[in-house]
């Protein structure tokens, strides 16, 4: 399996799926494998702040994650399927996040829970990662500060839907994206672009 960087936006999509071309057997196998994967996602709860409390509330009795097959929280990344980053991530925690993501074996998916994990949230400061997608590849973003448990469950169900649409025939889906030779996950101009303050927030307070 080749270890590459995430595909640049300018490159054209692959003309045909790498590997086996789909047929009756592969689609039935896909259905079985995807059904199994999506209904037994073991989360790796990388809980840092307030969203972690809402995650715990989602796992507790009222909003039960057990009905999704997710009650077995695997705190060891080696045994986890989905990495749920719940909470804000400062730069000091970024290498830890990256290492835990790297330690997870394929197939793995990533849910960025909350505004801070998705974009830095209200913390546009010197110490905060402006969205974990500058550090790891994210599959589902769940907005909210913190997202309601129903919102997180909706995000998990979206991930399940995404997984059900995958196919074993496409090997590019399970590609591992490591840090490049600069030590970055995305090119620097891309990081700067997605980290820029946006919208009205910059002007409302007339701050720096």
């Amino acid at each position: 399996m080749e270890l590459t960087r995430p595909p640049e936006e300018s490159s054209p999509p692959p003309a045909e799926i790498a590997g086996v071309s789909p047929n009756f057997i592969t689609t039935k196998l896909d259905f079985l494998v995807n059904w199994a994967r999506s209904n037994s996602l073991w989360p790796m709860p990388f809980g840092t702040a307030c969203c972690a409390i809402e995650f715990m509330a989602t796992a507790a009795g009222r909003f039960d994650l057990a009905r999704f097959g997710m009650e077995r929280m695997s705190f060891s990344p080696r045994q986890a399927d989905v990495f749920i980053c719940a909470g804000r991530v400062p730069f000091k925690l970024a290498p830890v996040l990256r290492r835990i993501w790297d330690q997870m074996p394929q197939p793995k998916w990533c849910i960025s829970m909350g505004a801070c994990a998705s974009s830095g949230g209200i913390f546009d400061t010197y110490s905060m990662v402006q969205g974990i997608d500058t550090v790891v590849p994210v599959d589902v973003y769940v907005p909210g500060c913190p997202p309601r448990p129903e919102g997180l469950i909706y995000g998990i169900m979206l991930l399940q839907k995404k997984i059900k649409g995958e196919t074993l025939a496409d090997s590019s889906l399970r590609q591992e994206y490591l840090l490049d030779e600069r030590g970055l996950f995305l090119p620097p101009d891309k990081i700067d672009e997605i980290s820029e303050p946006f919208g009205n927030s910059v002007h409302q307070t007339r701050s720096a």
């Binding site: 307030c50 809402e54 009222r62 400062p90 925690l93 913390f123 010197y126 913190p146 307070t205 701050s207």
Partner: protein, 429 residues
């Protein structure tokens, strides 16, 4: 409910008649008194920052001699978000949503702490209804914070069921918070001079029902833990700290009171009229993990007592004004702001420029569930503070963790860490 006393005897007591822990010899030869070479093998292990039992992103570097901890060095800063820097670019009312996210287990208490400090800085006196509602907010926060503590400490020590019970009770408080403020966790309840909104109709009855049912859940957890041999064996005599040392380490809250120091900000430097409420402050004796558990459990019963009294007062304040009537500080009602020129100007000035604070500085500490939460403001006449300092109780309490873990076993480190009741959002800010 008045004070409760529990008399109990265990079949196998772990504390002897002289008050010292009874040690069962492990059958291993004790090391040579000068240290010797056979114990020169020491392991340096890393606990965290991602770990299920560290209550957040805390990294503990433990130096182990076999199973025993020689030294424990905590590393923090894995959740440092720049709150204090951010506060220098926000108006006082805009800082209130930031306080939800420092101690996210008891957000309403943080909101109250900041608003009280800002009001002290600006010289504003709040209305009585606002005081009573803020007392209710603080005590509900105390309850939910201690419920989280009990649930997660239970999990750390191997008991999963109370976690589900305590989180169910928290959901009931979340219902109350959501009905009042619109948010379950990030409440942003207070404003300088008042509150964001008054309680909706029927809320008082919901709270009364909660006050009636919470003690039953607490009784069940009490039955599971207090006389449980496993619980006592894992918590008694562990992580103890004496009175003088606790004061020297600047501990506060249940950590300080479990060591025998009867200091509670609500009693010793009262705010929000706490000196007019009838409640007791539990004070421990040995300063170990077990005493901290008993102190926090009893605090929840006492909080229920305060809530019932506050509800009684609230009933008598129906229709009383909630916010101060100063239009320079509190936004005028929207209908007036849209129709009356003067109200529109007040609205404009507050939203665009903020409420300026006179030059000066102030510190105000309140009794947060974790300890004394202090807010230190330095103002220069503008609407944004020159300095906003949060005096974080968990930060200062955690600093004595190396002292508490001296000589403890590795599994005791988990129990001691749990008993400090930390929240990393507050520690790292």
């Amino acid at each position: 409910m008045s004070t409760r006393t529990v008399e109990w005897t265990l079949a196998t007591p772990s504390v002897g008649p002289d008050g010292r822990q009874i040690r069962v010899p492990l059958g291993l030869p004790s090391p040579a008194p000068d240290g010797g070479d056979e114990f020169a093998e020491r392991m340096l292990i890393n606990l965290g920052p991602q770990h299920p039992a560290t209550h957040g992103v805390l990294r503990l570097v433990l130096e182990l001699e076999g199973e025993r901890v020689v030294r424990c060095i905590p590393h923090i800063g894995y959740l440092h978000s720049g709150f204090e820097k951010l506060g220098e670019y926000r108006h006082y009312n805009q800082i209130i949503p930031l306080t939800d996210r420092t101690d996210y287990l008891s957000p309403m208490a943080n909101n109250v702490g900041l608003a009280l400090a800002a009001e002290k800085l600006m010289g504003i006196t709040i209305t009585e209804r606002c005081s009573v509602l803020r007392v209710i907010a603080c005590e509900l926060s105390r309850i939910i914070s201690h419920l989280v503590w009990m649930g997660t400490t239970g999990i750390d020590l191997g008991a999963f069921t109370p976690f589900l019970w305590t989180f169910y009770e928290r959901e009931r408080v979340y219902n109350l918070q959501e009905a009042w403020t619109g948010a379950r966790l990030t409440t942003s309840l207070t404003r300088v001079g008042g509150m964001m909104a008054d309680v909706p109709s029927g809320w008082n009855d919901q709270l009364r029902d909660f006050c009636r049912s919470l003690p039953k859940t607490l009784d069940e957890v009490d039955a599971l833990f207090t006389r449980n041999a496993i619980w006592c064996g894992r918590t008694q005599g562990i992580g103890a700290i004496g009175k003088e040392e606790a004061i020297n380490y600047s501990l506060s809250g249940p950590m300080l009171r479990a060591s025998g120091v009867p200091y509670d900000v609500r009693k010793d430097a009262p705010y929000l009229g706490y000196d007019t409420y009838d409640f007791d402050v539990p004070v421990g004796e040995h300063g170990d993990v077990y005493d901290r558990y008993r102190v926090r459990l009893e605090e929840m019963y006492q909080s229920t007592r305060i809530l019932e009294q506050a509800l009684g007062r609230l009933a008598g304040l129906d229709g009383a004004p909630l916010n101060v009537s100063d239009p320079r500080v509190i936004l005028p009602p929207k209908s007036r702001a849209m129709s009356d020129m003067e109200a529109m100007i007040f609205h404009f000035k507050q939203v665009m420029e903020g409420v300026p604070a006179p030059p000066g500085e102030t510190y105000l500490g309140i009794e947060n569930p974790k300890g004394e939460l202090g807010t230190y403001f330095v103002a220069d006449g503008t609407a944004k503070p020159v300095r906003w300092r949060i005096r974080p109780p968990s930060f200062i309490n955690l600093a004595c963790l190396p002292r508490l873990c001296e000589g403890a076993l590795l599994s005791d480190v988990i129990a001691i860490n749990a008993s400090v009741d930390i929240v990393m959002g507050e520690i790292d800010r």
